[in-house]
Amino acid sequence: MKLIARSIFILVVTITLNLAATPSPSAAEEKVELFLQKLLERGYYDTAVDYLNFLETSPLCPKEFKNRIPLEKAVILIEAARRLKDLKKHENYLGRAEVYLTDFTKTKPSPELFARAEKIRAQLYFERGQVYLNLASSDRKTEKEKQELRKKARSLLTAALDSLEKNRQFLQTQIQNVVDDPENRAAVAALKKTLHLEYVQVRTLLATSSESIADTFPNPSVERKKQFAVALKKHEANWEKYRSFTQGVNSALGAARCAYGVGDETKTITYCNEIFDLEDVAVFIPIKKQAAMIAKKIWETKDPLPFADVIKTLEPLINGLTTLEKRQSEWLELQILLAKAHRTRAEFFEKSDTKDKATRSKIDRSNKSAVRVARAVARVPGPTREIARNLLKTWKLKVGDVKPEEVTITTFEQARLRASDLMTDAESLRTIYLEVKKKVDAAGENATDELRTELDEAKQPLDETTNEALKILQLAVSFKSPETDREEFANVRYLQAYAYFILDKHYEAIVIGEHLTRAYPGTNSARSGASLALKSYLQLYISAPKDDNRFEYDNLKRLADDMIRKWPGQRATESAALIMARFSTRDGNIDAAEKYVNAIPKSSPGRVLEELRIGQIFWFQYLNRMKQNPADAAKHQALRAKAQTYLEAGMAQITKDQINEVSARATLSLTDLYLDLGESQKAAEQLENAKIAPLDLIKQKHPAASSPRFIRDTNKTAVRVYMAAMRNDQANATKWVGKAQGVLSSLKQSLIKQDPQKAEAKMRSIYVQLAKESRQQMERLTNVSQRKIFSDSLLTFLDAIQSETKDVATLLWTGQTLNALGVSLNESGEKAQARRLHKKAITAFEKAKKRGFGKGVDAERNELETERQIAVATLGIGEFDKAIEKFADILAKKAYIDIQMDAAKAYQLKGDALKSANAYAFAMMGGQRRKRPNRPPAKVIFGWNVLAKATINKPKQEARFYEILYNMCYCRLKWGQLKQKTVALTSARDEILKYAKKNPEMAGMRTKFQELLANIQKSLQEPVTKLPVPDPGK
């Protein structure tokens, strides 16, 4: 209502300004005014003001005009302010305009110019008032702010009202004072007419301003109603007096608005009806539309809808509109209302005797009208389209049965337009059909008969309408002549292809779609046709048997490649590149996938998911290669770099509605990737706070992150991220420890929820993996102090966990991790730090033992493993004999080969630490003789020699054998050196050469063996020989 009032005000004032021109300007004045007008038309407001400044001092400027300059400046500034969005600037312009107006009125201008200045002042206040009123309607303002703004608006609008009232009184006096001049009656009559017209306009403005003041009061409120009542009276009086004036008609509209504001529905409808009854001329159409919009508000509150009134009013109005008018948003809203009215009418008759032929006919006619109108609205893009489609869907009428009026088609253009309309209908019907189909597909075999019937019912009108369109399209083709517009003909062909596509006649759609690319290159239809052909090939591919889809795939690829080549970067290539990228990723053809992803226009939303998909493929390839061949890490980094590029590019563009399993998984991959790069901060950011962050998705319970596997993987990654963060962000180690603990807890919960039986085993395997990774992470650190800080953080983390937890598996994990880290530190010579970790490990294991392992299947294994880990920790502390005792105790019960190896190693480490030849001897020959029930005592620690015999020539034990062989030879070297027994050294050398000849790779330990051989040969004072070279052919 406010906007309407404002536009009317501006319209009236503009008219008034033109009419209020002073009598007969001179030629010089005309030139100045023309120039000013041209400047304003182009929006050069500043230049216009500059020009006026120049004129003020110019001797060439006519005197009469010079006097008016402040007034003209005010007009320019008001006009310029209207185009400003910035409130401050707007206020500034209007403030300046007001100053000019005041200056002007001080110059005691002629009564006519004074009246004009007052009217402009009223306009100024009105404009300012409207701005504040608009601001007050903003949802961002608090109620208090709104009240302030409304108050300000009211004050300005009241000022406008006062100014207009002064103007009215002045004009009234002027009219009364016009004296008849018998000699110049025509001039006097013209003056009277002009003054009277202006008087009418000022009165209209008075009513409009009063109406605007009503809007400054809260809705609903007594004051508002009161003010509307005041404005209503003014409008009514104007309407009564000036029916024959255009402004009078506006008053009727104003009266209708104010009556509605007052709450008087009868009066509102009465005034609306008076407007509807106006002559059917184009000038009244916008006014009738406004009246209809007011009436609509009242009709829509009625239940049932007063269909008779609505139809009676709107049908003739809408039928009289041009196609362009029918597509305007307010008219579309009114058409929706009309459609509803027809349907309500049908429902009304459906309640009566439906067996009666006349009644049935009425129902049928009403339904057809309802559908016809709704379908017309559904053809026009915009918010009403969806409403119309929903209506059609809700009504479930057989819309295909609704035939438009029979029109004889005799020209290409007629056929084209008719077919286009039918195809738009078909598109709407297809949307409905596809929605039902989606439901049926989702239900699968469980789809009810009712649902299947619904599908059939949706398909029938779709097919009928499309077939009808095809007939008309064929007719259009037959009308083709040399004069037929090429683009329009191509469009007809495209519609044919689309019709076939809708009918699932994909071969036909392909033939015409591809024909367009060949016969009509450069047209929009060529691109659309190609896209349609592509979709059809895809449909054929999907429905073809897996062993008979070569034709479809080959053609799909050929056409997609052709499109990408012809229209690079254009929207038409989007689907082509998308489809092929998907195929290529599916087939693992990463080079092709990359090519296609890069062919997807950057602006395409579809590109994002493909980038993420391909980024993930690169990432998985990298992980696989690293697993298969970790030694070539440098070679694989290119894959990781590509993965990073694509994942980051995708993540940068992704929108919330694109979150699905692919993007969720991709964000997790990117987190892993950052972790792999050692960028723990970035990894943590990606994990927690990125636009799409895996932990955040889980927290939101997003469907894309609901799979147990995703939750488990995310939690695993999270622990790794926090552990890495502990290493890199040591200042905040406590924070990361807390986060890691939280994630471990939820990880465990999710595993229990998933499968309580297997939860513990799964958790254990996760712990083992994490222990391994933390060791790897630490080994990556080359700097001793960094290693210390990292191990300190881990120690804090694990210590905090083990001190808090009561869970045996967690305790075992913390102990194992600490042990693994301790071993690593020991190997790098950081013995003091290693000891700290091993001691904490022993604490964890002892705590686990205290809690007990229960009686489950894993109890014995856990117990044994705990004893073993305690022995390892004891060894790490440097208590060799105690450790050896512990290993022996375990081995007395079960002679596991891994523990045998640990025990032999314990002797060996003792030898290293104490330079003890005996310890090396025990390492080789075994020790710890123990009593055995019903059997003679025997060594429970076998030593390297026996272990070598036990594992030799066993393919599955090959890696173990070479490790044993290495340690055995090492011990021989050390023992031989200490005892100065050359034979020990030569035997060690020969063993190495013998097995190197047999297996030059030496189970991946070739480098270590080479070093050992060199040491032996140096001790023997022999030249160092190279181990046999592996045969690359094997």
Binding site: K505, Y507, E508, I510, V511, F551, E552
Partner: protein, 363 residues
């Protein structure tokens, strides 16, 4: 239709002379000025017009149409409709003219009217109109025998050959089929001998002979005829079209013989051709369809024949050929409903085509 007389001797070269009354006008092709005078003689290769200052001989192939001074309004209108392609109207007017006892003693006009009737009947029959193919064939045969010296004798003979080829499709029995093909060959003989006088007809005759040979599975001979139909010495718009079609059909036969280049060459021909020549494109796509069929690529073959059905309509021969193969291909690609639709279209709209009759005969 009963044929007792071979047509090979029908084309005597001697002119037929006649007394004349009114002024005739001979409209010529290629923008040449019409010749006004009285037709006094005609032969399968020329017409002699008596002018005020002597006689003028006009080559038959240059004649677009003759406006006879003689004849009733109905007859004149019938002839006009014939040349405008309104065959049904032409037949209607001729019937009305006969009912009105419009008589003429002008033998040239008589021949013209007989020609218009016979040709209109053939055209109507071939395009699925309300005329039986047998009756149409009988009429055109009668024209070739009764008006063997008419300047329309050569076109009529070609039409008779086309009818015979179509008719051969009606028989599963090889002997009967061969009888009709033999008649067609006989009818085409004078055209094959008229290279210098009726160049385009000569090319068309070779095209038809190639088609006959293809029906007879005589591929080598088919290639010979199709090659002859591409004779460079004969030029003109129609000749170019015939030659292009012959090129396509040559590659079709080569493809059917196993030439691996055939598909590539046909695609090249299609891609190089711009414009919207429906007759050419429908022949080209059908030829390509045959090649894919031979290669065992049914889905690609189907697409080619669909081009003809959807985009290059208008010629009953190529349309029926496409529909005939589409019927088979839709079945072979598990679309029996579509096969049924194609067959129905073939039998309803193209019943008087070679493939229309063949489809009926096959069941």
């Amino acid at each position: 239709m009963k044929l007792k007389i071979a047509v090979s001797f029908l084309f005597a070269t001697a002119f037929v002379a006649h007394a004349y009354s009114q002024t005739d006008q001979v409209d010529r092709t290629g923008g040449a000025r019409p010749v006004r005078g009285q037709i006094i003689q005609e032969s399968p290769t020329a017409v002699v017009v008596k002018l005020s200052n002597g006689n003028q001989t006009i080559d038959a192939k240059e004649i677009r149409r003759v406006n006879f001074g003689d004849g009733s309004n109905l007859q004149k209108k019938a002839i006009s409709d014939f040349y405008a392609g309104n065959y049904n109207n032409c037949l209607d007017l001729l019937d009305r003219s006969e009912q009105s006892n419009d008589k003429t003693t002008n033998p040239f006009l008589k021949a013209e009217l007989a020609f218009c009737r016979a040709m209109s009947m053939c055209r109507e029959a071939m395009s699925g109109g309300n005329v039986s193919l047998d009756n149409a064939g009988q009429k055109i045969y009668e024209f070739t025998t009764n008006h063997s010296k008419s300047f329309h004798a050569i076109p009529a003979s070609q039409m008779f050959a086309e009818v015979c080829i179509i008719k051969s499709g009606a028989f599963r029995d090889k002997t009967k089929r061969d009888e009709w093909l033999k008649r067609a060959k006989t009818a085409l003989k004078p055209l094959l001998e008229a290279k210098n006088t009726w160049g385009e007809r000569y090319l068309s005759a070779n095209l038809l002979m190639g088609r006959i040979a293809a029906i007879e599975n005589n591929n080598d001979q088919a290639i010979q005829y199709f090659t002859a139909a591409q004779d460079d010495s004969i030029t003109g718009k129609a000749a170019t079209q015939i030659k292009q079609i012959a090129r396509c059909r040559t590659w079709q036969i080569k493809g059917q013989k196993g030439d691996a280049n055939a598909i590539k060459e046909l695609k090249k021909i299609i891609n190089n051709e711009s414009g919207d020549d429906k007759l050419f494109f429908s022949n080209a796509y059908n030829a390509l369809g045959h090649c894919y069929l031979k290669a065992g690529d049914k889905k690609s073959a189907l697409l080619q024949f669909l081009h003809t059905q959807l985009l290059y309509t208008g010629n009953p021969n190529t349309q029926s050929e496409a529909l005939y193969y589409l019927t088979q291909l839709w079945n072979q690609t598990n679309h029996p409903d579509r096969a049924g639709q194609a067959q129905q279209a073939l039998r309803n709209s193209y019943q008087n085509t070679y493939y229309g009759l063949r489809s009926v005969a096959a069941n």
